[in-house]
Amino acid sequence: MSTQTIPPNGRASYNFPDGKGKFGIYGGKYVPETLISALDQLEKLYAQMKFDKEFQNELNALQKEYNGRPTPLTFAKRLTEYFGKAKIYLKREDLCHTGAHKLNNALGQILLAKKLGKTRIIAETGAGQHGVATATVCAKFGLKCVVYMGEVDIERQKLNVFRMRMLGAEVVPVKSGSKTLKDATNEAIRDWVTNVSDTHYIIGSVVGPHPYPMLVRDFQSVIGEEAKEQISGYEKKLPDYIVACVGGGSNAMGIFYPFINDEKVKLIGVEAGGYGLNSGKHCATLTLGEPGIFQGMKTYLLQDQYGQISEVHSISAGLDYPGVGPEHSLLKDIHRVEYFSVTDDEALDATLLLSKLEGILPALETAHAIAHLNILLPQTNKNEIVIVNISGRGDKDLNTIINKIGDKIL
């Protein structure tokens, strides 16, 4: 047996969250007392189901027959030629049923909700992708579905609002605060505090109180597990870089997590830089935020000098959030993941780039990850490999894209 060398920062034993739901100092259960028993119940059930063959078989079957997994890992030939450096592969979560990675998590959670005997499901949504995923699983399993969505997002993601309503969900417009994802999340938590006895809250990202950040990460990890197997098959080695956009951080955690102990694989998260880091109007939480407590978790936050949560901005509704999953806060502090940001305009350009070179129209969220290739690729060389997580497709964003850069296209 070889002796195990412990890499710097104690990462050999990466095993989070701990028994109290903490990722280092981050995470936890900072919620009103009313929710604790529901969280404890969920945690207990999940601890059993994680190793329950029947549950895992049922979930795997749904991922395969209903969601369309495994999703392909596509070699991006023309994008690779465009940069003339490392080989670029795309992990195609845009090909999941409903058009984004969000369904991976919604499927897992609806099975848990059924086991808990809950009859009513609530969710928050920004881009509408998580709302659509939740409405979809509720339709499939015959549960009542209520989705909270900020008024600003209802306007910019109209198509998804129609989709949710067609799927039988009630979409509740949220008028408080910045009328975006953070406010929709507040309202969903208030609903849950009120209706906790019959309601399960399907959180859409690796955020909120324990056990959600862990549970959503685990359900999304299928992305990274598949990618690992696929790239090992194609290239007989692991990638050098993995790039993903970070809103709450679920598609990023999903693709990063199975590689966390592969020290040589560099993990890169890309946040929304909005109008630019100096504009005060961005969502670069890990780049410019500070630790605080918000929506059930301790994590990096964008906040003012008094600890009030900032009004943030991103062109992409799914990244327009002043917090981030607590595990990302830990991964930043221990330098296992590096975080960057790109602006609205850079993301829009990247949307066109991927469309024209690869025939793939990415979601505006995803476009942030692609835009970062402009920074990353020049630093790479030809025998290196980059995987980009294509978290979702961009049909939902056509309104925004036409409004912003319609003249460039027409």
Partner: protein, 260 residues
């Protein structure tokens, strides 16, 4: 006995339930807040809960959310809250309790927060987004001079209620219903059963009931199951709808707190 619990005990001994009134700091205006608070005390409140405004108050219903937002728009910050406390405390012996979400407190710095809050007359502290599960990580030694008031809810198991009672100081804040703050008109039988259950499990502390209480009738209904009541949203609503009638409203609540 602590400062707050002995105050409640004295009130109970004079055949009365304690009446605690919640006000959002700096609402409806910064200028008249101290005057408003003193008038509430003069008209029969036995203690005051002063809400520290927060941008995202997720345990609160629409009434207190809006008052919190209005206070922030009035420019109220932590220093203002302490200045209100100091001014109120110079005119009364009744306890002041601060209620605030975790983030503004840690941003101010817990050590500074506690020194400034206690230094300006704050006796108790309620943080609705810190349950006992986070007690150790949040309530460090910095908070030693505060009476940390913890909450129970209908969803709390018997065991948790006992643990909450053990850890709480000043009193136990019994949340009457599952839900956010907000005035309600009726409470069903389950609510009363649960209050009875909770009251019998809270043995170390005094117990005050809050959330949803909107009238003297509600107070009469709850009186057998508590040592006092907390009224928040109904008072904020009265301020919004009929400011001049507030003293009379508080008097009616206070009158209902007298046994008989």
């Amino acid at each position: 006995m602590t400062k707050i619990s002995s105050h409640i005990e004295k009130i109970n001994q004079s055949d009365r339930k304690a009446l605690s009134i919640f006000l959002t700091a700096g609402f409806p205006t910064k200028e008249n807040f101290v005057e408003l608070a003193l008038s509430v005390l003069e008209n029969g409140a036995d203690m005051l809960e002063i809400g520290i405004p927060f941008s995202d108050p997720l345990a609160d219903g629409p009434t207190i959310q809006r008052s919190s937002q209005a206070a922030l728009e009035n420019g109220v910050n932590m220093k203002d809250v302490f200045s209100f406390c100091e001014q109120i405390k110079s005119k009364t012996d009744k306890p002041l309790i601060l209620m605030g979400y975790a983030n503004p407190i840690i941003k101010y710095g817990t050590k500074n927060f506690c020194e400034d809050a206690v230094g300006n007359g704050g006796a108790g502290l309620i943080v609705p987004d810190v349950p006992i599960d986070e007690y150790e990580s949040f309530y460090t030694n910095d908070f030693k001079d505060f009476e940390k008031i913890l909450l129970t809810t209908p969803a709390s198991s018997d065991e948790r209620i006992k643990e909450i009672d053990q850890k709480s100081e000043g009193f136990v804040y019994c949340v009457s219903v599952t839900g956010t703050t907000g005035a309600r008109s009726n409470f069903d039988k389950n609510v009363l059963e649960n209050l009875g259950r909770t009251y019998s499990l809270v043995t170390k502390n005094k117990m005050l009931i809050g959330f949803g209480i909107s009238s003297p009738e509600n107070i009469k209904t709850f009186a057998p199951f508590c040592d006092g009541v907390i009224v928040g949203s109904a008072v904020i609503k009265k301020i919004n709808e009929d400011y001049k009638a507030l003293p009379e409203f508080v008097r009616s609540l206070s009158y209902a707190c007298n046994d008989k």
